[in-house]
Symmetry: D2
Subunit: 236 residues, 4 copies
């Protein structure tokens, strides 16, 4: 059964969880990967209850052994791998601890390298499959107060672009979805109790997921590398 | 009945004609616009034969009165407008006639302004609708031998980006599809008899059309401005 | 005597006039070109009074015959050509007159084509020389309220980039200076009487001129195409 | 005496050493920093012999304590800091060792963070000074075979851009020089014995150094963030 690995899965109303549910509904077996077992289990339970197939895999995106084991678990049916790990890491450079800058890179960019490398190691021999990354407006330019996150996200995007070119002729579709603005998910709803009232300014998670599905289904004579997604209310 | 205007329609196996047929199949009434009546009529006949609805409108994309009349014909049901006019205009600047440079801009960029302006004049009062432009790799950078086309396409893309920002809050979704490479359509098949043998290197028209459909259907909390499309064999 | 053509010359405290004076001080004979004879004459008088050499040439940047005559006047000593014509053309697309959009392109981009073409026609046979363009932040992206100017400036920049690639091997250095923000010149001083008080936010004309001089003097084994210039107070 | 720290100094005919010599000739006291003591000593000896002032400081750009000590040594006279560390790290992602990818980032990007942070910690209280980074064409886009280097360099460039915006209002000028192509230095001359014969295709080190000097001397009402440098023979 065609299998997808999706890493960076957290709360149900987050992008990772909704990517899992949608691709399960599209008929793929999902390896639901992240750091928090109960969150993963909840996603798996919902998928199974809806008649789909999924397995929770606890994995730290920055730990090579975890990522190798995750891809080993997927086996020969792997057709889709999505790297959705990495949180925003704001802060001014002048005040920044060394470990904070490094950790930003480790989760956002280094984890993307480990994940991407293991994906192409499995997909290139098959000659097809998709490798998709979650980006942000931070991926495209530096901004005051976001140097660490900007640097890491730009590093990830440029890595993804290099991989897109490096493995296209092998039949591997590498894509990058630029999420430009706050997502209407659980994190933001909890932090800003008034968020529901300004929902028009929060990107629809289902809409972002549509973008990933669109990229995954593209025929190899019409691949997109990049897709930006924002609300009609966003300034850019 | 929801109506689309699609301008830049030529031979059946070209992007314009296939955009018309697909959006007709999606249930829209299509105004099939271009300069060559028989080509337009053929597209309309096919749409009608398939149970859809379409009307041929002879219009020159660079003539203001033609564009105003075209949009007047669409009336209040307009929901989608696609600007697909404009051919490549190669040539070195040192040898270039003034009229050639101007004509490149007139078809590629000025026509896009006329079309885009008339579209927002009709769509803004309704508060929704899509305005989509066909771009090219030429839209993104200058290249030796393509200065006129690069200049015109970059002018169109930047205009589209300004319009995307200017009318988003009014509910109008402006998008730009970057077609990166040769299209597997009639023009190229006729010019290069061996093209069929290297189909893998020619972008799938159906795949490009998928991109336009995807953009048009996005919810306003998850709009994309730009989508690049190329084959797995393209160097970029 | 090494000769420069500088077009887009207006008031003394403007970029065009200051470019003329600096390159005259650097030892070049200057053809001071623009539409307003008295302004050109004033610049020439100052240059001559300072011991330099200059001639006023009334020319409309959008008129082919004017531009050809201007380059004919420079003759075989031409070594530098600077295109500094073109004003900002704000306005929403929905309200814009067709002629306004066209005129924006004609001055900003089409004039740049005429000027650039005549420059390479004279410089390529010599095997050296610089062709420099004045850009703006508008050259780099579309923005609400500036669609016409953005489109024209992006068209000019991309043309310049194509020319840079097309004529580099012939020894012609094409460059583009992105002026990012308001210039501390006469226009702004007159419009905003308080401008002097916020001089720190207005780009130093002398500093911009430094950039043009720097580009012109670069050896051919170390050419820059683009230079951005802004004040330390600018948001970007 | 106004002091500069320049890190990433190697052989005499390399960019780092030539930056040291030029800024010493411009009257600055130079801290010549790198990993190889004899190379640093040779540069210092030449500077001193020419009447300048310089000190060799062995420092590993990736070691926090080294960088802190380096800036401590510069003391209150620091006015310029240049990060020139980092070599190309080619290789396909599919074959790449984890440590190789990490080390590429550590030297190219993480070292730039440490260096930049220490620089702004010293310069912001003074209210002026320049922080300049050496970039590459790799900084701008991903390319097959260069994923690690592309990712690291893009991470550095975006960090530099964020810092440029973050510290401009504090009077700190952050700049980034994009070296687009092979440099005509010792490394390449040794690897390719025929390099001298194709000198026209190798970027002039003196020309790159000119760019750094130009950026450092810009007045704060006319700062550039980025400068690209290439030969007239380069394809781009």
């Amino acid at each position: 059964m065609a299998t997808a690995i999706i890493i960076g899965v957290g709360p149900d109303q987050g992008l990772g969880a909704q990517l899992c549910k949608r691709f399960a509904a599209e008929g793929l077996n999902i390896l639901v990967a992240g750091r928090t077992k109960p969150a993963l289990d909840a996603v798996v339970a919902d998928i199974v209850a809806a008649g789909g197939r999924a397995t929770a895999v606890v994995a730290d995106a920055t730990v090579e052994a975890d990522i190798v084991a995750l891809f080993d678990k997927a086996g020969a049916d792997l057709e889709l791998a999505i790297y959705n790990a990495g949180n925003n890491t704001p802060g001014k450079i002048i005040d920044m601890e060394t470990g904070y800058f490094e950790q930003s890179w480790r989760v956002v960019c280094f984890g993307g390298f480990l994940f991407g490398r293991e994906a192409v190691r499995r997909l290139v021999p098959k000659g097809f499959g998709s490798l998709l990354f979650t980006g942000a407006s931070a991926s495209l330019r530096g901004r005051s107060g976001y140097g660490a996150f900007n640097s890491s996200k730009a590093g990830l995007r440029t890595l993804a672009q290099a991989m897109a070119k490096e493995y296209a002729a092998d039949g591997i579709h590498v894509g990058h979805v630029v999420v430009d603005g706050p997502i209407g998910g659980e994190k933001i709803m909890k932090r800003f109790p008034d968020a529901a009232g300004r929902e028009e300014r929060l990107i629809s998670i289902a809409g972002i997921v549509d973008g990933f599905v669109f990229l995954h289904k593209q025929p190899r004579r019409a691949w997109s590398f990049e897709l930006d997604v924002r609300t009609s209310q966003e300034s850019w």
